[in-house]
Assembly symmetry: C2
Homo-oligomer: 205 residues x 2
Amino acid sequence: MKLHWSPRSPFVRKVVIAAHEVGVADQLQCVRTVAAMMKPHAELMVDNPLSKIPTLVLDDGTVLYDSAVICEYFDGLHAGPKLFPSLPRERMTALRRQALGDGLLDALILWRGEMMRPAAQQSDPYLASFAARTEATLAALEREAQDLESSAFSIGHVSIGCALAYLDFRFADRNWRNNCPRLAAWHATFLARTSVGATEVVDDA
Amino acid sequence: MKLHWSPRSPFVRKVVIAAHEVGVADQLQCVRTVAAMMKPHAELMVDNPLSKIPTLVLDDGTVLYDSAVICEYFDGLHAGPKLFPSLPRERMTALRRQALGDGLLDALILWRGEMMRPAAQQSDPYLASFAARTEATLAALEREAQDLESSAFSIGHVSIGCALAYLDFRFADRNWRNNCPRLAAWHATFLARTSVGATEVVDDA
C-alpha cells in the first residue's frame, strides 16, 4: 500500500499510529508528499483532488481518504481488539471522540495558517475564535479525561492524542497541561504507547 | 432528539437528508443555532466545544457530532437499505465519497469565508488554491459520475449531492455544470429525491 505521507502532518501521524496498533505498518510504502494548504500538489491530486494527506493507494489502485476512512480500512485487516468498536454505544462514543480530536486538529491547523499570514492579512476575530474554541475543547477533554483513561483504546483516543501532541509541537507556548491535569495524565499514557513512540514528530525542516 | 440546526448549513442539510432517507426525520426537534466561524456560540459549545453544527443531543443526553457520526447513528435506527453499506468494498467506496463531498464542502466554506474578508485581508494564493482544488474535485466527480449513478444510494451520494447543491447556492456564477454534464445529470436525480426536496435551502436572511 502506498501512503502519501509527511513527517509533520498530524493526520498522517494518526493513520500511521493506527497502522502500528493493528499490525499493518510494515505493509506501508510511505511516499513523502508535501501538501501545503496554499499550494495544491499536482501529483497528489491525481489520487485525491482535494490535495490532502493522508491519502492511501491500495495495490489494486483503489484510493482511500481521509484519515478516518484509512483508519477504518486498516481496522478491517486484523482480528485483534478493534479501534472502531462494533457495539453501537461504544462505536458512537469512539466516533464522536474521533470527530472531536480531528475537529480540534482542523482548528489548530487553520489557526496556525492564520498566524503565519502577513500581519496585515490576519483577522483578529478569526484568531480570537480559534483561541476560544481550543480552550473550550481542552476544558471538555479535561472533563472527559477519566472516561478516556477507563475506556478501551479506540480511534477516538488516537485522534485526541494526536491533536494534543500537535498542540505540543506547534503551540508549546500555550502550556495546555496547566489547566488540564487529568488530561495530561492520560496523554502521558498515550505517548508511552509503542505505536505513538514509533511515529514521533521531528521538526527536520 | 434535539438537533442544533440552521437552514443554510450544508452539513446540517446532509444529516436532515439522511434522517428523511432512513425515516427518522419526524423524531428531530430542530433548534436554530447560528454557528458562524468567527463567532463561537456559547450555548452550542456546552454540547460541542468546537462550536459546529450539526450537533445532535439524544433524549438521554448523549451528544453526537460531526455530520458523519450523526448520519451513521441515524442509519443504525432503521432496517431498510443502509446509507453505510456493511460489505467492506462498498463501505469503503461510500466512506471515501463522503470524505470527498465533505472535503469539497469544507473547502467551499473556507473559500467563501476568505472572499468575505475585507479586501486587504484576503490572500491571493489561498483563493487560487481553493479554485484549483474545486476544479480538480469537479473533474474527478465527473469521471466518477457514471459509477455514482449505477451504485446504490449511500452516504457518499448524500455528501456529494449536498456539496454540489452548496455550489449552486453560494457559487452559482461558477456554472459548474458547464464542464460536468454527466455529474449534472446525476445531480438532477439527487435533487429529485423526496428527502432532498424536503430540505431545500432558502436564503431567508
